[in-house]
């Protein structure tokens, strides 16, 4: 399985996801500079976490202006699997590949800690190795992860099982207390309507080796590997 990691100025989890992809797929991902308008054909495009363009103005707002994003948008629309983590999720919404917006955390502070997520869609190419309703442990690290969209969009997301992950407590309850950043319906990650684009705020690439504190992030990459190599 071939993958590409898009590197924007200010990306800072690009190496982390590169390492995770290399480790799990066994193939070195291509690192693509934001200024390039074309890159080789790949099975997966990954938009890493970080602070593209400093996250000045709004998180993820400036990345869509870069040459590479035109190509990313085109390929994502053509059905190429596209994964946005943290800042990558923010970029995907700003680029219009996913609906809604990520606003400042309700508590206004940056949050970095392990959180519990409930897997609410275990059939997508990104999540098929998880059990439906499984509670997993993943770190978050963001200032703007408060998911917002209009009511119609929310209903569409809910009705079509497009909410991949929700913040929850240990028992899997997506409670108000477990909602770390004020996201609508505890949303932590969503899929596009075709299911080939996933954006999520937590960082699965930070939990792939037990010494990092667990391996719950591995399954996401294993899901992708399974889905894309069998396809």
């Amino acid at each position: 399985m071939k993958s590409a990691v898009i590197v924007f100025p200010g990306s800072n989890c690009d190496r982390d996801i590169q390492v995770a992809l290399r480790d799990i797929t066994g193939v070195e991902p291509t690192m693509v500079w934001h200024g390039d308008s074309d890159f080789e054909k790949v099975d997966l495009i990954a938009l890493p976490g970080g602070f593209s363009y400093g996250d000045y103005l709004r998180s993820g707002a400036m990345a869509p202006t870069s040459p590479v994003m035109k190509e990313v948008v085109k390929r994502a629309k053509d059905g190429v699997a596209t994964l946005g983590i943290c800042n990558g999720f923010q970029v995907l919404t700003e680029a219009g590949l996913l609906p809604g917006a990520l606003m400042r955390n309700a508590g206004l502070k940056f949050i970095c800690k392990d959180v519990k997520l409930r897997v609410d869609n275990s059939t997508s190419i990104f999540t098929n190795q998880y059990e439906q309703g499984e509670v997993i442990n993943i770190p978050v690290a963001h200032h703007d992860g408060n998911y917002f969209c209009d009511e119609d969009t929310l209903e569409t997301l809910e009705c079509n099982s497009r909410i991949a992950f929700r913040y929850c407590d240990e028992t899997g309850d997506a409670s108000h207390e477990a909602n770390i950043n004020g996201s609508l319906n505890n949303i932590a990650g969503i899929l596009n309507s075709k299911g080939n684009v996933l954006g999520l705020m937590p960082h699965p690439e930070r939990l792939i080796d037990p010494v990092q504190g667990g391996t719950d992030g591995r399954k996401m990459f294993e899901s992708i590997l399974g889905a894309l190599t069998n396809a």
């Binding site: 100025p9 800072n12 602070f51 363009y53 940056f110 800690k113 690439e205 930070r206």
Partner: protein, 743 residues
């Protein structure tokens, strides 16, 4: 300032405003053979300021041990460098940003992080960890919350964006910092030993190149500000505050590292305090060469900037380097790719002078050696600090409820959880922070990318002790980092320091400084744990009130295989709990006396460096042999607090016997004797640990077992771990939630 102002004659008021004494000015005139002009006066004033010249501290710093076989580069360069095997080096330093952070906590702290990062990557290292040692005023002081909130947000705002994990530090509250908070930031980086860059300029005619952000009128006189006392109205006379741009810093790191992978760079230096002045003077002086700079070529953000302003500006995110001739275009392309300014602003000369031209005129021409070698060096008078009387504990009424004592300690301002702080820091970016080395333990552990090795890092200082006895306190600060690192299984290798003190012109303060340095030096010698970099921050006084002497120590160690590392959390029912080291019940200058009785009295605990070394080595060898399941050093709050911390971290109880024997319970449980550790181990391992200890003559006693939901210590303490946790975790968030409430 106009051009006329620049050309004006220098008056004695101007000299005084620049923080120079009459004698110092006379020396300038002597060195130049004429009166300086305004630009030259500005340059001398910053180079001769306390901050840049270390004029009061140098004589004492010279006594610190700086060598060991694994030291590649000690103090004097931008940061210290040590050998960590496999051709790799760890490069690190700690630095203060106290005054700016008091004036503007967010930007002050943020630019402090930016500055220390540059000190480290300028030497060719990729920064891999940030730490911060913070001291705030009393919790109930009206400014404290605002300062905590701004400083923490600033450190996070910068470090998170740059993408370097902030993995540790320390945070204290004490009234002596009400008017002078301390913000000490430390960065640790990793480089290949054959790719380390130094600052000495060499090679006649080679180009002097400026890269990074443009120069504005930011923070002119920052270095002089850091070299005077605060008074109430200082806050009004704010110099322009520097604003940090972490995005540009991130680009600068990547661009510099990219250029460094070639052989284009002869020398490189960041522009820190006193910006272009100190960077060019230091590079030239180290290389014994002259610099001719054309200021018209300096990238400028504002209009009509004058030489004085350009030379003294402290605009952030800038570097100065000497390139190999012919590599200019190659280098320029890299910086342009990263969207950064790149300008050739001058060349190396053999004049030995710093010669500045501006709009066709020579506006300054100063012998470099006079700026550095002729800088004042003072052996300021000092008096030996008075020694304190021991506290007579029998005079104090014993607490009735030891449960409440423990809850008050772990749930009080100084020992409560700092999660509120570190959760605002991305402490996992780069994906190399080890689970057991996340903030909250003894030392932070960050794996060296792509290897089995990990760095262990900790910052420590107990100002209570240093105030009570600067010599013992200086020793203790070093010993505590040594212990924190050893407790993870890593071998402590070297330290950096940040020596925060009051006004050096006061003999008592100078006495604290001198004795603390002696103590630090002594500890470094015995522990084979040299000082490789550091920073001094003096004049931490407001209206004549000095801070508690605070020599913050940042220690760095190495563990060969991170799978061997242990963390502080108790793991499983049935593990035996051992105390390594002698418990004598020393309560003088303890946190117990301070927080429970409101007393800051007595002598601090004596630090037997021989024992520190022996016990540290022993604990490390037990960890390496795989006998240890959890380990924590005993420091503030003694055995009781250490046990509580291990229970809370593991979410599991412990049953411990009251082993106070001839000591009173309070002395046994809360005494702060040094060179001690608590270890949890399976029973057969515990037996092995105790028998090995006996052979080596090291005290090691089994005091109980892990298990249950409560921490029970004899019949005096019995508390649900959940209650301990709730007290421990709620203090900071509750306190900070009151941020805007009227006080």
């Amino acid at each position: 300032m106009t051009k006329q102002e620049i050309a004006q004659e220098i008056t004695s008021e101007m000299v005084a405003e620049h923080g120079l004494t009459e004698d110092e000015f006379a020396n300038i005139v002597k060195a130049l053979g004429r009166d300086p002009n305004f630009t030259e006066l500005g340059i001398y004033s910053v180079m001769w300021s306390e901050h840049c010249s270390y004029k009061s501290s140098k004589v004492h710093l010279k006594k610190l041990p700086t060598e060991a076989p694994w030291v590649i580069c000690g103090p004097g360069e931008n940061a210290g460098v040590i050998d960590i095997g496999d051709g790799q080096a760890a490069i690190f330093k700690m630095e203060s940003h106290n005054h700016p952070s008091f004036i503007e906590p967010y930007q002050g702290a943020a630019t402090g992080v930016g500055g220390i990062l540059r000190d480290v990557f300028t030497m060719g290292a990729r920064p891999v960890a940030n730490l911060n040692a913070l001291r705030f005023g009393a919790a109930n002081h009206e400014k404290t919350r605002h300062l905590v909130s701004g400083v923490v947000a600033g450190i996070g705002g910068y470090g998170n964006c740059v993408g370097v994990p902030t993995v540790g530090g320390e945070t204290g509250f004490d009234a002596s910092y009400n008017g002078n908070i301390l913000v000490n930031a430390m960065t640790v980086g990793i480089a290949d030993q054959n790719k380390i860059f130094y600052s000495a300029a060499a090679g006649m005619g080679k180009p002097v190149v400026y890269v990074g952000s443009k120069t504005g009128r930011d923070g002119i006189h920052g270095a002089t500000m850091a070299s005077t006392e605060f008074s109430e109205d200082n806050e009004e006379k704010r110099p322009t505050v520097q604003v940090g741009d972490p995005f540009t810093e991130k680009l600068l790191i990547e661009a510099c590292l990219e250029l460094m992978s070639s052989d284009a760079i002869v020398a490189i230096q960041d522009m820190g305090a006193a910006g272009l002045t100190s960077s060019s003077v230091e590079m030239a002086s180290k290389g014994g060469v002259g610099f001719a700079l054309n200021l018209d070529h300096v990238p400028q953000r504002e209009e009509n900037m004058l030489p004085y302003e350009m030379m003294l500006s402290e605009s952030q995110e800038r570097m100065l380097m000497i390139l190999e001739p012919g590599k200019e275009d190659f280098a320029k392309a890299i910086f342009e790719k990263w969207g950064l300014d790149f300008a050739i602003i001058g060349e190396i000369t053999d004049s030995g002078n710093l010669t500045l031209s501006f709009q066709g005129d020579v506006v300054a021409d100063i012998p470099i050696n006079s700026l550095v070698d002729d800088a004042p060096e003072y052996e300021r008078p000092w008096i030996k600090p008075l020694s304190r009387k021991p506290v007579d504990m029998d005079e104090l009424e014993k607490p009735e409820d030891y449960n409440k004592v423990l809850l008050d300690l772990v749930g009080g301002p100084n020992l409560s959880s700092r999660a509120w702080i570190w959760e605002q820091y991305d402490h996992m970016v780069m994906a190399d922070t080890l689970k057991g080395g996340r903030p909250g333990g003894d030392a932070a552990l960050v794996r060296i990318h792509g290897t089995k090795k990990a760095l262990a890092m900790s910052t420590d200082c107990t100002p209570r002790y240093v105030e009570a006895d600067p010599f013992e306190g200086g020793k203790q600060a070093v010993a505590e980092t040594y212990r924190n690192i050893s407790a993870t299984g890593a071998k402590p290798l070297a330290i950096t320091d940040c020596l925060n003190f009051g006004n050096p012109e006061k003999p008592e303060v100078m006495g604290q400084f001198a004795k603390a340095c002696e103590g630090i030096g002594e500890a470094c010698r015995v522990l084979e744990y040299p000082v490789v970099s550091g920073n001094v921050s003096l004049y931490n006084e407001t209206n004549g009130e000095a801070i508690k002497p605070t020599p913050a120590i940042g220690g760095v160690g190495l563990i060969e295989n991170y799978e061997d590392a242990v963390s502080i959390d108790f793991k499983t029912d049935g593990h035996a709990i051992l105390v390594v080291g002698e418990t004598e019940g020393h309560l003088g200058a303890s946190i117990y006396l301070k927080e429970i009785f409101g007393l800051e009295e007595g002598e601090p605990p004596f630090v037997s460096l021989g024992q520190e070394k022996k016990h540290g080595e022993f604990v490390r060898s037990m960890i390496e042999q795989g006998h240890v399941r959890a380990c924590h050093d005993i420091s503030d709050g003694g055995i009781a607090v250490a046990l509580a911390e291990m229970c809370m971290a593991g979410d599991i109880g412990a049953n411990v016997a009251d082993e106070s024997d001839s000591l009173s319970f309070q002395a046994w449980a809360y005494g702060e004797d040094q060179a001690r550790y608590i270890i949890a181990a399976e029973e057969h391992c515990a037996a092995k640990i105790m028998s090995d200890a006996a052979i080596m003559g090291i005290p090691a006693f089994c005091i109980g077992t892990v298990g249950g939901k409560k921490l029970e210590i004899g019949n005096r303490i019995s508390i649900d771990v959940a209650d301990l946790k709730s007290a421990h975790q709620s203090w900071m968030p509750n306190y900070m939630a009151e941020e805007n409430k009227k006080s």
